[in-house]
């Protein structure tokens, strides 16, 4: 029951997140902006289109979009979003959680390399470099949470109760801050990447999917919305207390996720993106912040 509720929550509301970010940015800029549900319309449009395939590509090219959707869905099942336990939970599932995203990145990058384009090769080099630097932040955060909760399963590890907040509030705040930076990097948001740019030479993630079209591109868009949902929910799980009631927890998760999207919109409205050579510095800083959280809980 909770598994169905949780899946429905993720599958149905993920594209709404993109709408909330866009709307926040539009309001700050004094524009009216596209409708909140624009991402759904875009997906509908893309799914009705034909796919154009380059003659140099192979099956790998289509595996990228498929993995982009499957992986975040699988990863979402490891998170306790509605109710105290995640639909899939076992000791050590945090490792699976992190490397599921590595798996999807592998397929996205291989699909990009499959086209043989110089642009996409460049995007791949950037993506994997930055991903490697973002990973420690994620793991340090999980390590600190494992220490606080005394468990190696995401279901217990992410169920942060009032007692944990009382004991380790500083560490938890550091984890949330660090993971928010990772969220921005992993989901190609400002200041790491510019989701709206049309300039191939400056893109990180977008440039890898330039050759995808139609339903395949729709899957990629949908996949990135799912990924944004999963990362936001991960942070929401740390920040929110849990009631144990599936419906109330699902509603709280959705509210928190949308709140995070508003914050993303505000960040994107108030700063320029970083020079590409500065990106590693911010990611290393995120790792250090999470590393410091580990130091705090190890005392």
């Amino acid at each position: 029951m909770t598994a169905v509720l949780q899946l429905l929550l993720v599958v149905l509301t993920a594209p709404l997140l993109l709408g909330v970010i866009t709307r926040t940015k539009a309001i700050v800029a004094g524009r009216s902006g596209p409708p909140l549900l624009q991402a759904y319309y875009d997906l509908g449009k893309l799914l009705r289109k034909d796919t154009v395939l380059s003659s140099t590509t192979t099956w790998v090219f289509l595996a990228g979009p498929a993995m982009a959707v499957v992986v975040p869905l699988l990863a979402s099942l490891l998170l306790p979003l509605a109710g105290p336990r995640a639909p899939l939970a076992f000791t050590g599932d945090l490792i699976l959680f992190v490397y599921l995203f590595a798996l999807s990145r592998f397929f996205t990058t291989v699909a990009a390399l499959d086209t043989g384009s110089a642009f996409e090769g460049m995007g791949v080099a950037r993506e994997v470099t930055f991903a490697a630097l973002a990973e420690p932040a994620l793991f340090f955060g999980l390590l600190a949470l494992a220490r606080i909760s005394g468990s190696l399963s995401l279901s217990q590890l992410l169920t942060v109760d009032g007692n944990s907040w009382h004991r380790a509030s500083a560490a938890l705040v550091l984890i949330i801050a660090s993971w928010f930076i990772v969220l921005l990097a992993e989901n190609s948001r400002v200041p790491f990447d510019d989701p709206n740019t049309h300039l191939e030479l400056t893109m990180i993630h977008e440039v890898m999917v330039l050759d995808h079209s139609g339903p395949a591109f729709g899957l990629i868009l949908y996949g990135s919305a799912l990924k944004l949902f999963v990362f936001s929910a991960l942070i929401a799980d740390v920040a929110l207390p849990r009631t144990g009631n599936p419906l109330a927890d699902a509603a709280a998760t959705l509210g928190a996720v949308l709140g995070i999207c508003v914050v993303i919109g505000l960040v994107e409205s108030s700063m320029a993106r970083l020079r590409l050579v500065r990106v590693p510095q911010l990611l290393v800083a995120a790792s250090l912040v999470a590393g410091f959280a580990v130091v705090l809980v190890l005392r």
């Binding site: 510019d194 709206n196 300039l199 030479l201 700063m271 020079r275 590409l276």
Partner: protein, 502 residues
């Protein structure tokens, strides 16, 4: 200026016979010496005469407001290139080789400019080139890779081909191949002026319509001895500054968009439209089409519209200053702009950059100040400079200039002289004459040189858009930079493809 040159003011005609016709060696020395003495080559082209090809060079002495003319004859299909001694003529010489099939011997990088056919049947230096099909400079090495961008771009911009030689994110070298927008304007102008001529001028570079038509109108007025009424002069100045306001504002917004800084991007995009609409109030066209004509302007500004125009201008300027002002107070934006795409001041001099890009290198050159024309002979606009030659400087010069332009327009609207706005252009053009007409478009110096034949028709009409001088600057700005900074850098120059390709 040295003795071998004939000197004239901006848009002051001279009989062609007065322009010294010197042997090639003397021509070389004259141009090279002038450039050594701080003159700039504003135009350098060839034309066909009975016994071969004639080279004509126009040099500008910015401190004395003088234009120098010199010419020479090439009787064989080759002449000694000036480029090794005077790099700023490199593109002019490539153009001469392409148009007339004569070879500048010793040119270090002789390639087609616009991939056009030679104008002289039987004299092809590059054969029949196809756009973009040429040799490119290549850096070899295990980890060196080449990135080719364009001619079709992701954004709605003009076509151009860019080749990067990179090592990871680092750019060793950028080479730019243009010519995709070549329409054959200069060739079509020969034998003119005709009814079509003014339309070629308006679309030579569509975003500089006023700048180019003004340069053309000045040339025609000079060759016919037409005096333009004061009101028309002022209205032309207002239109030129509105063009500058619209484009500078648009550029600041686009620069801000390129670094994903939304507040300024959205607002500047809107106020650019406000300035365009003010131009439409003048002449019915947002881009100033149909406004400037030889002898004056086509439309008068009724007195009852001045008040609303001033009000709208002030509202738009207030919004622009407020929103673009955010760029200079937001650390993340400054961090992106500073030290990106730097052109050293001596490089700027060597390659003969003009306009905003040159002023951003600390070079105080501005046709409105150095070769005053029209209303600028009576009202001076301060020359705005910055000193680092990077994206930040180019953006900052625009920001300063647009405020001066807004002040100028507001002041001129208050004191419009009460005269007619157009005089008839009497008779035909002076025969066998030459005139160089300079204006300061929003990108920089626009130079039109007209040479008439015995019947007073154009024997040659040479258009030099500021982009022609500055494209090499974009390529050099990228050296040792980051490939991801290219779009930002390119936008900070915002050069015209069609103005270059003609």
């Amino acid at each position: 200026m040295n003795g071998t040159l004939l000197t004239r003011r901006n848009a002051e005609p001279a009989p062609l016979a007065d322009v010294p016709l010197v042997p090639l060696a003397g021509f070389r020395t004259a141009v090279i010496n002038a450039v050594r003495n701080d003159c700039r080559v504003v135009s350098y082209f060839a034309r066909m005469v009975e016994d071969g090809i004639e080279l004509v060079a126009v040099l500008a002495d910015d401190t004395r407001s003088e234009l120098g003319f010199v010419r020479s004859r090439v009787t064989e299909d080759r002449f000694e290139s000036l480029t090794p001694e005077c790099p700023q003529v490199q593109l002019f010489e490539r153009e001469i080789a392409e148009q007339y099939g004569i070879e500048p011997v010793g040119h270090p990088w002789l390639k087609p400019v616009r991939f056009q056919q030679s104008w002289r049947p039987g004299h092809q230096h590059f054969g029949e080139p196809l756009p973009g099909v040429t040799d490119f400079f290549r850096v070899e090495g295990d980890e060196v890779h080449e990135v080719a961008v364009g001619p079709v771009h992701a954004g709605v911009i003009e076509p151009g081909h860019f080749r990067f030689q990179c090592h990871g994110e680092h750019v060793f070298h950028l080479e730019i191949a243009l010519g995709y927008q070549h329409r054959g304007i200069e060739r079509a102008l020969i034998g003119g002026p005709s009814a079509k001529t003014i339309h070629y001028m308006e679309t030579a570079s569509g975003d500089s319509t006023i700048g180019h038509t003004l340069a053309y109108a000045q040339a025609i007025e000079a060759l016919t001895g037409t005096r333009v009424p004061a009101r028309a002069q002022v209205l032309r100045g207002i239109a030129l500054e509105l063009e500058r306001l619209a484009n500078h504002t648009g550029d600041l917004g686009a620069l801000s968009g390129d670094v994903a800084y939304l507040p300024a991007a959205a607002s500047c995009g809107r106020t650019r439209g406000d300035y365009l609409n003010l131009t439409a109030e003048l002449c019915g066209s947002r881009f100033g089409r149909g406004f400037v004509r030889p002898g004056g302007v086509q439309f008068d500004l009724p007195t009852d519209r001045i008040a609303t125009l001033t009000e709208r201008l002030q509202a738009a300027t207030r919004d622009t200053v407020e929103s673009a002002g955010l760029l200079w107070t937001t650390p993340s934006v400054i961090e992106r702009f500073e030290n990106t795409g730097t052109v050293e001041a001596n490089t700027c001099d060597e390659i003969g950059m003009v306009g905003v890009a040159a002023r951003a290198c600390g070079r105080s050159i501005d046709v409105r100040h150095d070769f005053p024309f029209g209303v600028y002979r009576f009202v001076h606009i301060p020359v705005m400079t910055a000193h680092h030659g990077d994206v930040n400087s180019r953006a900052f010069v625009r920001w300063l200039e647009l405020q001066r332009s807004a002040d100028f327009v507001a002041r001129q609207l208050r004191t419009l002289p009460a005269t007619p706005v157009r005089m008839d252009v009497a008779g035909s053009l002076a025969p066998d004459a030459i005139v160089a007409s300079l204006t300061e478009g929003w990108r920089g110096e626009i130079c039109h040189v007209a040479i008439t034949d015995a019947e007073g028709r154009f024997a040659r009409y040479k258009i030099t858009d500021p982009s022609f001088h500055n494209w090499l600057g974009v390529a050099l700005a990228l050296r040792n930079g980051q490939i991801s900074d290219f779009p930002l850098c390119n936008k900070s120059f915002n050069l015209s493809y069609c103005g270059h390709d003609l």
